[in-house]
């Protein structure tokens, strides 16, 4: 890898960082993309699901006769049969008795859990038949309150596990006791992050086909899942090479949640059992209720110790997370924030107590940022509290505590090293772009007119280059220390270049990324470079686009492979020109003698030698022109220490949000009047793509902050199973956003790039909490429970107003 690219170098790239429309776009605007539900194989049968209506119930019997009598109904699969024929899924923490299968195994542990699957000639017929499946349930005691689960005062979700606590540990990094005792001030606060998720517009879809002659299972699925083929094979008791996952399926959004192990295992089991292709497409209710894709549902108790000058000395964070009825990878979402547990601040010690508990709710899945966005809300709310106590400007408080740009690499108390940044510059750029002085005037004008208005400030980190170091941190039996990604580059006889990637994409423009990087290294037009996707049997190792990693990892792998090609071309030329390689220079595919431009070999000649003229190849070189590169995550390769100190993700992007929110005091409705985001993710491979993800992340965070919640009744029933009650913000609620770019290259990556797939989302909820509380402060109200819905804001206003009236009357 090239060392330490500077900002100056970033401007010298030929294709990287330049405006270039993503090469994926034409297929999406013409209806020529292929999503999983578009895969059409003759003879395909369709699945409809039977779900438990109870939060917790024993499945006493399932009668299938009436369903099977429906013409066109082919099969009814019960949990009993499926669980006997498949293995339980792998989970992230050491809790082997928390077993999950694709259908309930005798006991349904949340309302909406699938208990049976019906297969028919069409989806309509399958749904007709599903309504005729007769399930007899015995309702069982249940728990919906995670605090009760944490205290051991609730019915057990998995009695075999012996507790509802999946994971609990208190980490202490540095002299927390001493720092709290010595500080001038201490403050405590509670922050609640409501249960929301990314809720892509495409639900999960899978088509499975089993070939009994070749003993090969073909899968087309809308997945974003590390080690997906291995996990599917494990559950189905198949060798890994009996599962072929087709990564050339377009995925209609994911942002973490499209894991789909259970859907795929179910469809694959049926395809094998019935010897026909089987399609399972969630409808929206199944997706919201039984799709197992809810995000973190987390309460933070935060204590902060600080001095009168604004210097924050120490943090204590207790994070209680409700993962629902099964484990999966969800408890690990408490682990990822360890890598940025003090945010962008020079906080010398920290205590962190993550507690992962189960309740009788839909299971949690990975959501954009893997637990970092809620944690950032807690950290930022604490910083705002410090500023409020000290009556200090919130931006100034942050400046006082920021790690300075000359302090990198900077190791935080929990052991992770931040690679680079200039937090002061980015915040100041954002404040300048927002014209903070003018913004304050606007805010105060609204207030003087009797309105409520607040300015929000949030400065957050985006850890990137996902490496899964939280796996060994949270599970000592797991010794994962690599999270590699790969690329194959081939140049064919015609001289055309193809880059082969090894995973699916869900809107991140990875084909553009690969083509741009290969084009950069080989100095060939990226538009001429095709990017293909290997299926899982042909693929090199990949860990999928999770953890804001692909610009770093796929970009690094593509560059590594392209450099091998370039080196090979130089060596072929050296051999044929009779010159040492050092005497040659590479220029747009041609290789030219440094001092004698007449001595050269053109791209086409070099390619022809590689493919046809072995007699002209340098000795020892393999024929053809192809190279692969498998790259380990920078900084990877070590296990956590006994004290839990760990190098989490390698690269740290930074974002500074400045927002003005006006609240209608009569009805509590918030309106975002101004939104600016300063953003530094190092060198951008494609700025348009990065900006797009940041805009989208901000919108997603606005949803989590103001609108979206998977609410549950006291009976454990999901109250938000449609888009009429789970409110996804539209173009009417999302404002125009201004992004202000800054570039601090990472010293760890090929071109100085950092990740940005989770950008925006990691800071916008914190910024809105800051703004709403600034708006409510003049009336003495506060609100730190997300989502801060119009109703919740109205209640906060009404409570204070009525108390104020009572107090005034009493006086």
């Amino acid at each position: 890898m090239d060392a330490n690219p500077s900002e100056r170098d970033a401007r010298l790239f030929r294709y990287i960082g330049r405006q270039r429309a993503p090469k994926e776009n034409p297929r999406f605007v013409t209806g020529r993309a292929r999503f999983a539900a578009d895969v059409s194989i003759p003879g395909t049968k369709h699945v409809a699901l039977v779900a438990s209506p109870y939060a917790h119930a024993r499945v006493k019997s399932i009668r299938t006769g009436a369903a099977l009598a429906v013409p066109g109904c082919r099969y009814v699969l019960t949990g009993e049969e499926l669980c006997a024929g498949t293995n339980a899924f792998l989970i992230g923490v050491d809790a082997p008795n928390v077993k999950r299968y694709a259908l309930a195994n005798g006991v349904a542990r949340y309302a909406g859990e699938w208990v049976a699957a019906v297969v028919a000639d069409s989806r309509h017929l399958a749904e007709d038949a599903a309504e005729l499946v007769e399930v007899e349930y015995e309702p069982l005691p249940f728990v919906v309150d995670p605090e009760l689960s944490a205290r051991g005062a609730a019915p057990l979700v998995h009695p075999e596990h012996g507790s509802n606590v999946l994971y609990r540990r208190k980490f202490v990094w540095g002299e927390v006791e001493r720092d709290f005792a010595a500080a001038d001030h201490r403050a405590e606060l509670r922050v609640d992050w409501g249960r929301s998720a990314t809720v892509p517009i495409e639900t999960f879809a899978v088509v499975a086909q089993w070939n009994a002659a070749t003993r090969l299972l073909d899968i087309w699925a809308s997945i974003q899942m590390p080690k997906f083929p291995d996990q599917v094979a494990q559950a189905l008791r198949l060798p890994g090479n009996a599962v072929r996952v087709h990564y050339d399926v377009d995925v209609g959004g994911s942002f973490g949640v499209k894991r789909g192990i259970k859907h795929t295992v179910l469809a694959a089991y049926l395809a094998r059992k019935l010897d026909c292709p089987v399609r399972l497409v969630e409808d929206r209710l199944e997706n919201m209720r039984g799709g197992d894709m809810h995000g973190p549902d987390r309460s933070f108790d935060v204590a902060v110790a600080f001095n009168a000058d604004g210097v924050v000395k120490s943090l204590r964070i207790r994070a209680l997370d409700d993962v629902g009825a099964y484990a999966g990878r969800s408890p690990l979402q408490l682990g990822k924030p360890v890598g940025a547990i003090v945010g962008p601040y020079r906080i010398g010690s920290v205590e962190y107590e993550p507690i992962s508990v189960m309740t009788n709710k839909t299971p949690q899945e990975a959501v954009r940022g893997f637990g970092q966005a809620p944690t950032n809300v807690a950290i930022e709310a604490a910083m705002d509290r410090v500023a409020a106590v000290l009556k200090m400007d919130r931006a100034q408080l942050r400046r006082i505590n920021f790690i300075r740009k000359d302090e990198f690499p900077y190791r935080i108390p929990s052991g992770s090293s931040y690679d680079s940044g200039d937090y002061h510059a980015v915040l100041d750029k954002a404040l300048a772009a927002a014209d903070i002085g003018e913004l304050l005037v606007k805010r105060d004008l609204i207030r003087r007119r009797g309105g409520l208005a607040g300015i929000g400030i949030a400065t957050c980190l985006e850890p990137s280059g996902g490496n899964s170091a939280f796996e060994p941190l949270f599970n000592p039996k797991n010794e994962t220390t690599t999270w590699m990604d790969s690329c194959l580059v081939r140049v064919d006889l015609s001289g055309s270049i193809t880059g082969v990637m090894n995973t699916s994409s869900s809107g991140q423009a990875h084909e553009t990324l690969v083509a741009t990087v290969i084009g950069e290294v080989l100095e060939r037009d990226p538009d001429s470079i095709r990017v293909a996707r290997a299926d899982s049997l042909c693929a090199l190792p990949s860990n999928s686009p999770v953890g804001s990693r692909m610009a770093i990892m796929l970009g690094g792998a593509a560059a590594g492979a392209a450099r091998k090609i370039r080196q090979t071309l130089i060596e072929i030329a050296a051999h044929n020109l009779g010159l040492p390689a050092q005497a040659l220079r590479y220029e747009q595919g041609d290789v030219i003698a440094a001092g004698d431009p007449g001595k050269r070999l053109a791209w086409a000649e070099l390619v022809e030698i590689a493919h046809r003229k072995f007699h002209r190849m340098p000795p020892g070189r393999e024929p053809g022109l192809q190279a692969q590169f498998v790259w380990e995550v920078p900084t990877g390769g070590t296990l956590p220490g006994a004290d839990g100190r760990v190098q989490m993700y390698p690269c740290y992007s930074f974002e500074a949000h400045v927002v003005l929110v006006e609240i209608d005091p009569l009805v509590g409705r918030p309106t975002i009047r101004r939104y600016v985001c300063g953003h530094d993710c190092g060198v951008k491979i494609n700025p348009q793509v990065v900006h797009g993800m940041t805009y989208g992340g901000i919108a997603h965070g606005i949803g989590a902050a103001l609108f979206e919640k998977f609410a549950y009744s006291d009976e454990g029933q999901l109250l938000a199973g449609t888009f009429m009650d789970y409110l996804i913000p539209s173009a009417q609620e999302i404002p125009q956003v201004e992004i202000v770019d800054h570039c601090t290259p990472s010293p760890l990556t090929t071109f100085g790039q950092k990740g940005s797939g989770e950008s925006g989302y990691l800071g916008s909820p914190a910024a809105l909490v800051s703004a709403v509380n600034d708006a409510l402060a003049p009336i003495g109200a506060s609100l730190r429970a997300l989502p801060m819905t119009q109703k919740a804001i109205w209640e906060a206003i009404a409570t204070r107003t009525s108390r104020h009236r009572r107090e005034s009357a009493a006086a």
Partner: protein, 163 residues
């Protein structure tokens, strides 16, 4: 329990198509499953997300909330019918490509239909009119900004010309 079927005749993307459909078949299922036009997507099946939007006699409608038999005798345009000629993108489609008015592409066909509906009636829309026109189409990737910008790019390129 064989379902009674009804003959429908619908002009889809300029071509007359006939089908025998059960009364409960939605228009989107007809387009996708019977006619093979998978560019139109299903997002929520309860009329909120707009991914299934198609033009019905020149106006955007939700094809998930409409039965195929209700479209009998109508003209339907799907995303596949937006191209001017085969392989030649419309100004709006090209603007979405150039402006990166999409990411995963799942909501995109519905967005294009909604935007086309706007441009057909309002050649020079304001930002508020654009946001209003796509206000019934949900997107989880873009935060809508590059969609709005792409529509504005199309408006600028059209500059009053017919679409």
């Amino acid at each position: 329990m064989s379902e009674r079927r009804y003959r429908v005749t619908i002009e889809v993307n300029g071509v007359e198509r006939q089908a025998e459909v059960p009364a409960r078949l939605t228009l989107v299922d007809l387009l996708r499953d019977e006619l093979g036009l998978t560019g139109t997507h299903v997002g929520c099946e309860h009329g909120v997300c707009g991914a299934c939007s198609v033009m019905l006699d020149g106006e955007p409608v939700r094809s998930c909330c409409m039965f195929a038999v209700q479209a009998d005798g109508s003209r339907v345009t799907t995303v596949e019918g937006l191209e001017q000629d085969a392989g030649k993108l419309s100004v709006l489609q090209q603007a979405f490509c150039d402006g990166h008015g999409l990411q995963c592409g799942y909501c995109t066909p519905g967005m294009l239909i909604a935007a086309q509906g706007l441009l057909d009636t309002t050649p020079d829309p304001t930002d508020a009119q654009i946001r209003d026109a796509i206000g019934g189409n949900l997107c989880r990737c873009t935060g809508y900004q590059q969609i709005v910008d792409s529509i504005k790019l199309a408006v600028a390129r059209l500059d009053g010309r017919s679409r």
